[in-house]
């Protein structure tokens, strides 16, 4: 990637810290998730490789821009999203988001996968990026806090 736009979450903090240390990736802190999507799409339109790194609460904010920008213009957009509220999350107030995230991705017809930490995570990222580029659309890789611990 050349640019990663992110709104923070505890579970993606370590990954974003690594991105910040990269010499080749521009780490961009943004105020809201829809912006991150548009920024990543802009980077892709300009010949770079943009990605979005957010929590699932933020992904749930993004229905409008996914439909009206990413899908409508057929733009590649790769997401890594922390799946807060899944069975591995100890914090009770995330549970309602965890309950609806995958169902929402399916309702929105967003290609997605839940990261398999027993496998090669880098290969899963590469596959997601490739799928977004080949399909000219979104791809969401859902991660748990344990995946990057």
């Amino acid at each position: 990637m050349t640019l990663v736009a992110s709104v923070p979450d505890t579970w993606i903090g370590k990954l974003m810290a690594t991105v910040r240390g990269s010499r080749t990736i521009r780490a961009l802190d943004v105020a809201r998730e829809e912006e991150a999507v548009a920024i990543a799409c802009g980077a892709n339109l300009a010949g770079g490789r943009g990605a979005v790194l957010i929590q699932n609460a933020g992904l749930l904010n993004c229905g409008g821009i996914l439909a009206g920008l990413v899908e409508l213009y057929r733009l590649p957009c790769f997401f890594i999203v922390s799946l807060r509220g899944d069975h591995r999350d100890p914090i009770h107030y995330h549970v309602p988001k965890g309950r609806v995230t995958v169902a929402t991705l399916e309702a929105w017809r967003l290609p997605h996968a839940i990261a398999d930490r027993a496998g090669d995570l880098a290969a899963q990222v590469r596959r997601g990026v490739a799928q977004a580029e080949e399909s000219r659309g979104p791809y969401v890789l859902l991660i748990s806090g344990e995946d990057l611990a």
């Binding site: 802009g42 980077a43 339109l45 409008g64 009206g68």
Partner: protein
Amino acid sequence: MTPRKPFLDALVALLTPRDVLVSCLGANARWLPHMQVAAPVFALCDSMGAAIPLALGIALTRPDRHVVALEGDGSLLMSPNVLATVAAARPTNLTSILWVNGHYESSGGQALPGAPVDWPALVRASGIAHVTTVETPAAMAPALAAARRAAAPALLVVPIAFDAGEEIPPYSEKPEEIRARFRL
């Protein structure tokens, strides 16, 4: 107060092939296919609030190009957070142009919430220091030239008259055509 089109004409006449133009939905996106624009154009027909962050992604990726984003006051009121994001990202090649007419033109001309938003003050308070109000079409040239020289994110506030009877052409390009033609 002057309507939008003379301002848009003045702006488009100033663009070069080295610039990039990103347009919000609505009248701008509908007029542009009918104008001679020297710069590559990416025009939205949906996604209120996406023009400035889309332009930011382009500007950060292509620092050799000057990117101009067109946005409306209704769209920016929906997502003013982007001002702080732009200020923090500090692109040296991004000028945003904010059309202020107090109306949601595309959805039927409804008025914005009736708060007297002080746009230049809001933009400055968000961390964008280079803010200019463009009162006449003739003032567009010096304002854009100063924005280009600013070496910092710039925003031009353009108050325009709302004309419910303006005959704006319909959307004439499909999104995939716009994307396919957009080459830097």
